[in-house]
Amino acid sequence: MIQLFDVSKLYPPDHHALIDINLEIAQGEFVFVIGPSGAGKTTLLRLLYRAEDPTAGEVIVNGRNVGRLPVRGVAALRREIGLVFQDFKLLPTMTAIDNVALAAEVVGRSARESRRLARSLLGELGLAGKSGAKPAELSGGEQQRVALARALVNDPVMVLADEPTGSLDSEAAEQTMRLLGAINERGTTVVIASHGAARIGRLSARTVLLDGGRLLEVAPHVQEAAL
């Protein structure tokens, strides 16, 4: 599913964000990429959806060498990946349902079908009554659930989440992690970049520890990885 071979990322002039990373993540895994600020967690995730190119090495996602994809190939790759961010990245001028439907429309679904899917997903995530609300009218936890619905609307094979609970209170953070756990239970690979591994319920998770751009440790699967 995800393979990194001797991957390095250098930001000129001399900031080594990642150094010789070798990592494999199998289909259906739940992985925490943890480490302190500046460890290279976000950079690693950005390489997976080709927001960055590696300076050296190869990044393989779903059998495709991500670094060699043409622009259209990158768009196709991202349609197979659900992305979740700390700052949600919702469009402030659009309602919750429109934010979710937008992602469905870009893959070619009709506006009607996209809205039907979006409404259904928002309902599943407990936001049935908020579909007409704009992001500013929603709490942080609700906004993150809208972002999750958007990430899931095209039935992705993997979800990449960069500090998804970073700006949430503990209750909303726990709920978000539970939802990510539930997504993983359906067979979707989930990779989360975070300061520490959170409770994800009854699922097993693996932790990948980064520090100073180096991969220090890959912990085996554990039941209920703790903070």
Binding site: R72, A75, R78, E80, K89, L90, L91, L102, A103, V106
Partner: protein, 266 residues
């Protein structure tokens, strides 16, 4: 954009009307090729055949010395007594040559005259050379000015549209980023900006045509008085196909400006 197309269109109007004027002059104009007095009668017929076969020539007619003399005498009317005593062969035989309507522009007329002068048996060719050459020079100058002023302004318009697109991209940066993150195809992201540029270009072109039309309507009377060459009705606006080309040019510049801005920005 509107200004650039206004200048470009303005030159086109001048050019179109001058071409029409040149063609108008040409319709009433004939070339006269005067023949060598020593040319044998048997040589006249083949020479006339050759001249009549020029692709630009509509009609070529042989005017004998006698016919020329008669014509001259008639043109003098009551004053014809002044040529009494002169020989009827004082005037040379000639060809009267009328050109096809498509070949009445100054360049074609000059070209036909050049070829006639090179024919053996032709000693002199007369046509309103000075005027056609001046007109030809004027048309060349207008053609050059159209591309220099109009072209420079059109290139400037391309950059202006590009900058407008850059601002539009900056204003919608967040939306573009989200579209890219959810895997929107590049075409779906680019299309709204291209359409925006295209509409801007079209609006600019329509505005320039309206301005030109209004200006021409206001100034035509003044122009006809000053030039003394046209009646008011004779100063014409651009032909519909030229208007269509200007609209297409506006759309193309608008779309191209947005396209290049997108390539730089995204």
């Amino acid at each position: 954009m509107a200004l650039a197309l206004f200048v470009f269109g303005g030159f086109l109007i001048i050019q179109e009307n001058l071409y029409r004027m040149a063609a108008g002059w040409g319709s009433g104009m004939q070339l006269f090729a005067y023949l060598d007095g020593g040319l044998a009668a048997a040589e006249v017929e083949p020479l006339l055949g050759r001249v009549a076969a020029y692709p630009e020539v509509e009609k070529a007619r042989f005017v004998s010395q006698k016919e020329a003399w008669e014509s001259f005498r008639k043109s003098l009317g009551k004053q014809s007594g002044v040529i009494e005593g002169l020989s009827a062969d004082a005037l040379p035989a000639s060809f009267e040559i009328a050109l096809k309507p498509t070949a009445r522009d100054p360049a074609s007329v000059a070209g036909v005259a050049r070829r006639l002068r090179a024919e053996r048996g032709v000693v002199q060719v007369d046509y309103p050379e000075e005027w056609t050459e001046k007109l030809s020079l004027l048309l060349i100058s207008i053609e050059a000015a159209k591309w220099i002023f109009g072209g420079v302004l059109l290139i400037a318009a391309l950059f202006i549209v590009g900058n407008a697109a850059k601002l539009a991209i900056a204003a919608r940066r967040e939306e573009i980023e989200v579209m890219q993150l959810v895997g929107a195809p590049p075409g779906a992201i680019h299309l709204p900006f291209i359409v925006e540029g295209l509409v801007q270009g079209l609006a600019g072109a329509v505005l320039s045509l309206l301005l030109l039309w209004a200006l021409l309507a206001l100034a035509s009377a003044e122009l006809s008085y000053t030039l003394g060459l046209f009646s008011i009705q004779q100063i014409r606006f651009l032909r519909p196909e030229i208007c269509a080309w200007l609209l297409i040019l506006g759309c193309s510049i608008g779309a191209a400006g947005s396209f290049f801005a997108l390539r730089r920005q995204l």
